[in-house]
Amino acid sequence: MNKKRPVNLDLMTVRFPITAITSILHRISGVILFFCIPILLYFLSCSLSDQISYDAISAVFESFPIKLLNFLILSALIYHFVAGIRHLIMDVGIGETKMGGKLGAKVMLFMSILLIVILGVWLWVL
């Protein structure tokens, strides 16, 4: 074997195109959401069954671990949502060029990060 062939094991310099990263994140967020359906249904059931259990679940939502859990689930949802909308826009035929794709991926990533920050502010600051 040619010992001089280039090797690149430094993960920080392996470059994936941004569109590959946003696309795999869309898939991962979708699978995470699938596993979160029972959690969300459980919270919905607590919040709707009666006043007492509504008050109880509201108090649970204020505890740090559950707030963090909600933050993570909703972040996955925000990302999947924004990436999904971008997907639908591209299905209609907008931004399908390579450059358009990269720009769209950047805009989409920026939008999701912005919305996730707003979510964090809403949960912890307001």
Binding site: I37, P38, S49
Partner: protein, 122 residues
């Protein structure tokens, strides 16, 4: 060509799956935006606001439609992911059955939640 069918896809038809995935995504998006708008309009949401919303017949129907879209969307999505990564047919089949049973259970559970709302005690 017409005879190439995959019995484990949602509808046995890739194009129809694709369409189901899009239509259900749009319904879910509209539903989620409706909930977000409701929460923005009701800062400090009370049980009264929340249970009144879900007791409204139109919103109930909308919620059932959204739940149904959710299970179709999740099924087509998870099916695609499984087809990509789980190669042994028996294992994929097994996971698919578990996913279908869970999703049907979630749908029934969701409908049951909607029909068990206690009104506000005035």
């Amino acid at each position: 060509m017409g005879s190439v069918r995959n019995i484990t896809s949602y509808s046995g038809n890739g194009l129809r799956d694709w369409l189901v995935q899009r239509v259900s995504a749009i319904i879910l998006a509209v539903y989620i935006l409706t909930l977000v708008a409701f929460m923005i309009c009701h800062q400090n949401l009370t049980y009264g606001d929340w249970s009144t919303l879900f007791s409204n017949l139109f919103f109930k129907i909308f919620t059932v439609i959204a739940l149904f879209s959710l299970i179709l969307h999740a099924w087509v999505g998870i099916w695609t992911v499984l087809t990509d990564y789980v190669k042994p047919t028996w294992l994929r089949g097994l996971i698919e059955i578990a996913v279908i049973i869970s999703l049907i259970g979630y749908f029934i559970w969701g409908v049951e939640i909607l029909w068990n709302i206690q009104g506000v005690l005035f």
